[in-house]
């Protein structure tokens, strides 16, 4: 192998390593939801969210297993999976998007950075554009992504049965908290 080829191979290898070093991920991020209802508020937690963040480009991806949402009451969990999200037919919700202003985040300096995230949210077989404000908190070199936004059930073809229409809210509040503690 000539010297030129060796240098080129090394350069490509360094570039690939550098590109990967910019990507951080978690397989145990948290997403919770809250729905206000006259009879009883509905809350559920999912601590098995997979998310990847490219610290250089701002690209962001979430994959959420619907059955990983856990409720305090078995009946709520059953209705959520069988009647509303139909998790056997649509087992995952996926978000693919980006932090639009990633350049202002200094991943080596501790602090809280306000950011905007936008992209496509696919849930219950329907994809919609989503745009929301959030924060990236940097602590000891680890990024914590947080956001809170409202989703309208009708936008994702999630129907509320007529019988319980007055007792179930037409919107849910989604809270995202993902600590990107793994590096690629």
């Amino acid at each position: 192998m000539t010297t030129k080829k060796i240098i080129a191979t090394l350069a490509v290898t360094i570039l690939v390593i550098a590109a990967h070093a910019q990507k951080v991920y978690t397989k145990n991020g948290n997403i919770s939801f809250f729905s206000k209802a006259p009879l009883e508020n509905i809350t559920a937690d999912n601590n098995q969210v997979m998310s990847v963040l490219n610290q250089q480009t701002g690209e962001m991806q979430f994959s959420v297993i619907i059955k990983s949402f856990k409720f305090k009451k078995a009946l709520m969990e059953e209705h959520f999976n069988e009647n509303y999200l139909e998790s056997n037919l649509f087992p995952k919700a996926v978000f693919k998007g980006a932090v639009s202003d990633i350049s202002k985040v200094k991943f080596t300096t501790d602090g809280i950075y306000n950011v905007m995230v936008s992209g496509d949210l696919t849930m219950h077989g329907v994809t919609n554009k989503v745009s929301t404000a959030g924060t990236l908190t940097i602590k000891n070199g680890v990024a914590l992504g947080s956001s809170k936004f409202i989703v309208k059930l009708a936008d994702y073809n999630i129907a509320i049965p007529k019988l319980v229409k007055d007792n179930i809210s037409e919107t849910i509040e989604i809270t995202v908290n993902c600590e990107y503690n793994q590096k690629l």
Binding site: N28, N47, I65, K67, K73, A74, N88, L184
Partner: protein, 146 residues
């Protein structure tokens, strides 16, 4: 005689209504299934992962939502943002684990030890081939079985 019949009818109706209400109240407030006492499918961590890796549709039908008792070697012990213990069991696929969110934190566990975890299988996550990131198979509400 007629008055007695009426009394019996009203009493029966009242009992039925109270019983129906009690059953409804119980079902509405019933908590999650008792994992510790429930019957489980016994399986090795590597076999479970292989099943999802080979044919996720069939594996989903077979395991998703079911209570499993998974035997495997501890690869990593950590905590999630809710301070629940997360135990990763090794599989034959590099970078992929059985990812178990524990209902009770266990002390005196160490990596490399073979253990049995019992919990609900939620299926496999999302792999990212571009990133070379392998998906895990998830267990929730998991308990350590001695």
């Amino acid at each position: 005689m007629k008055s007695n019949r009426k009394k019996i009818f009203i009493l029966t109706l009242a009992i039925v209504l109270v019983a129906t209400g009690a059953v409804g109240f119980y079902l509405f407030n019933k908590g999650p299934v008792n994992i510790k006492k429930a019957k489980a499918v016994h399986i090795d961590a590597s076999v479970l992962y292989k099943a999802f890796e080979t044919d996720s549709a069939t594996a989903n039908k077979k395991f998703n939502g079911k209570i499993l008792q998974v035997k495997g070697t501890i690869k990593e012990i950590s905590s999630n943002q809710q301070n629940q213990q997360v135990i990763l069991l090794s599989t034959t696929a590099e970078g992929a684990s059985i990812n178990s969110t524990m209902e009770e934190n266990i002390k005196a566990l160490q990596t490399g030890k073979t253990i049995m975890l019992k919990g609900i299988c939620n299926g496999i996550g999302e792999s990212d081939e571009d990133l070379g990131l392998k998906a895990d198979v998830y267990l929730t509400r998991a308990y350590h079985i001695e």
